[in-house]
Point group: C2
Chain length 455, copies 2
């Protein structure tokens, strides 16, 4: 049987978060206590995702641990104890052979040369499977670890991100693909004129040098992005190859999709050169009711401290002094946020609606949709989203690991394959090949040139 043609396939990424994305996941019987720092645990998860022929796994990141409200944080310990994602992906590479390997790294807190090197190195180590999620970071805890009192303003962070990415791409083009052609007879290890040193002087960065590494298998590791603000979407339309949208509903996702793809033309980009994935959570059950019951049982395990903490974090305001069963006064929430714009809007919306604090705590889910259903129902929903033009695929988060990923791989993937909506097996070996994205031409090469070593 021939495989599904590239164009009719959906892209599926898996965001992996220790015991799962659900704040109660670490409390479940299936949760491995030391998962956060156990590389073998992550190797196993990656192999499971690879068995499902998924396009890539992905690790989110923030370079900070919380240092206050520790009692509450210890009840929902996200980002408190984790392996560093670039080293983690390098360690996973050898235990897998096809699945893409993506991680977040912040343009606010890295040096472009170091980051360009590490992702290019990961791309070599994984034989063309690296992807970088370009974020500007969204909390002041991180800023304080890098000599700043707080994050720079939102648009300044994006100005810096734009220049950062440009510098990194220039570094990835430091050498032509065929620069390192060994010619022992003439004692040449590389072709000198195939080095193109970067000469960059911008507002944020100045660099004069070349990357000390042959161009990587994918040319450029795949560029991911997840900004949701106006600035973020514009940046994505100009530069991203994969975008994670927060898909709160099919309609919302379609609006986001059309909006983003519509912005691409002015940058001379083809709509197919950017894959928009809906960031959605998934619970498979025997029926929708069964799946929802599972999710509800996890919701019930969330400690009351945790919901209030999340609100506090996302609107920078502590509401824990308010009565739980009365509406939240509008005066108690700030007018705007320097952090995640979408989370802020979701909370502000509920406050404007007049919901009580308890209702807000219960409902607030950081703009996350959870698809609940039987394997067939999930496949139906996925098919509907893609058919409606709401997304090119999904960036799934898994409430509880490994079980919800296992269910997806063992039950939903076969159903998608049966319908011809997902690959039977990997065809290519690089992440770009999985995604159907072209390998970027080196900016210094206008047309294929002959490879002749100087003599």
């Amino acid at each position: 049987m021939s495989d599904t043609p590239q164009s009719s396939r959906m892209v599926i990424g898996a965001l992996i978060e220790a015991n799962g994305i659900h704040p109660a996941s670490w409390l479940l019987p299936e949760a491995q206590d030391d998962a956060p720092t156990d590389v073998d645990y992550y190797r196993g998860i990656a192999q499971l995702a690879e068995r499902g022929k998924l396009d890539f796994i992905f690790f989110a990141d923030t370079p900070a641990a919380r240092t206050d409200d520790l009692v509450a944080w210890s009840r929902a310990p996200m980002y408190m104890n984790m392996l560093e994602p670039i080293t983690l992906l390098s360690a996973i590479a050898g235990a897998t052979s096809r699945i893409g390997l993506g991680a977040t790294a912040s343009t606010s807190f890295y040096e472009p040369y170091n980051l360009a090197r590490q992702f290019a190195s990961l791309d070599h180590i994984s034989h063309g499977r690296a992807a970088w999620n370009v974020v500007t970071s969204a909390n002041d805890y991180a800023a304080k670890n890098f000599g700043l009192d707080k994050l720079p303003p939102h648009t300044r962070r994006y100005d810096k991100a734009k220049e950062f990415l440009e510098v990194v791409k220039k570094l990835w083009d430091s050498w032509e693909d065929d620069a390192f052609v060994i010619d022992k007879a003439n004692c040449f290890n590389f072709v000198p004129e195939k080095q193109h040193a970067v000469d960059h002087k911008g507002e944020f960065f100045e660099l004069h040098g070349a990357l000390n590494m042959a161009r990587s298998p994918q040319g450029h590791p795949v560029v991911l992005q997840a900004g949701a603000s106006e600035t973020g979407k514009e940046f994505a339309a100009e530069t991203a190859e994969v975008v994670f949208g927060t898909g709160s509903s099919l309609e919302g996702a379609k609006k986001f999709y059309d909006d983003l793809k519509g912005r691409m033309a002015k940058y001379g980009r083809d709509r197919d050169s950017l894959k928009v994935l809906s960031g959605i959570s998934i619970v498979v059950g025997q029926s929708e009711a069964d799946a929802r019951a599972k999710l509800e049982s996890w919701q019930d395990m969330v400690h009351p401290d945790v919901a209030l903490l999340r609100l506090k974090q996302d609107i920078e305001t502590d509401l824990s002094d308010l009565p739980l069963d009365e509406p939240v006064p509008l005066s108690r929430i700030p007018e705007s946020s320097n952090f995640h714009q979408v989370y802020f809007e979701e909370i502000a919306g509920m406050v404007r609606e007049g919901l009580t604090l308890r209702e807000i705590c219960r409902r607030y889910n950081r703009s996350k949709t959870t698809m609940c259903g039987s394997p067939t129902e999930i496949a139906d929903q996925m098919e509907a989203w893609v058919a409606a033009g709401a997304s090119d695929g999904f960036m799934f988060t898994f409430p509880a690991l490994p079980s919800t990923l296992e269910d997806f791989v063992e039950k939903v993937v076969p159903e998608l394959q049966r319908r011809g909506l997902f690959r039977q097996d990997y065809v290519g070996t690089t992440l770009r090949e999985h995604l159907g994205l072209p390998r970027p031409q080196n900016r210094h090469v206008s047309e294929p040139r002959e490879t002749v070593a100087p003599v």
Copy 2:
């Protein structure tokens, strides 16, 4: 048979440099062309070193490729094309189980938070085998990749290095060893009072935060250092756990050893808490003459451009316009160097002696001694160095890979084992255990305290 007691054993590290440290190594028939970016090649080398029960492998680093004199550099392509060492070690970790994994990272060009995280992560990934070689970097090419025109002055670099290391160690102590004790019944993932956020405000860095990772298996990854200047030695005496000396002779090495160990008392350090390893190159043959002939045959393959280039690099002066067979005028070399002090002294010494440029080119070997001999002769020399108190062991560089490492592992190691000078097998699992170094106590814990989660 019981194993050699810790105290009578020598430490052996292996510096791994693509096809070998010799500038002609890449031209040899055994040289694998794509070794510099082939992770499987390095996995194989690491496994070979582990078969020899070596303490650790080590990757040197500089964050820059040369951008001028490219024709000459293409004839001796060190640091032009390499995998990034931290990602490389993470990838090697899974293919080995005991051998230590060390890499250089520069305090001049990293952010302490990022580096502290990555080495701690590598320590988790490798189950306690990580080591960091703290360097301040010694070339302006690197500076230009990080917004600087040239390197800061030597002593300023060390001032920064000192503060950098201090910050990194504070971050490694962000959490007590038993902070992440999962208590599902009471909904605590960690013990809040076992976090100790860093609150640092120094001349170079300001940080207020905690590492987002449980304390690593070794407590602190092992701190390596290789400075040779006065400032460098003082820094090492205060902070290093392993030091690479450039062992130009047994007498020179002994002087260095006594000098360094003598400086430790004023920092309240026990001499055994620092291992001094002589940085020596090694060629095993059937006899000394045989080994020397091998080395000579490699010397003969070095392109004339390469020797002049090394001189130019190390004294920041191009001598290629001078006649090869006349002494170098003293006026042509600078009075001092901001880079490797020892290399500079070696060259300046030969110029003062009145050697011709050709002789200097032929002799100059960056202060490296090469031990040449039969397995017995090599073992004799190693035994003599350690018995004389010239070193605690060796940081070997291998002129040609894999052959010179293979010879060492297969022929010299068994001889050392027979003499009771080297371990028959690993006893512990962490690098600290191999080295006989204590696991650092967390600075926030004065005496063992009971682990009770708050309720």
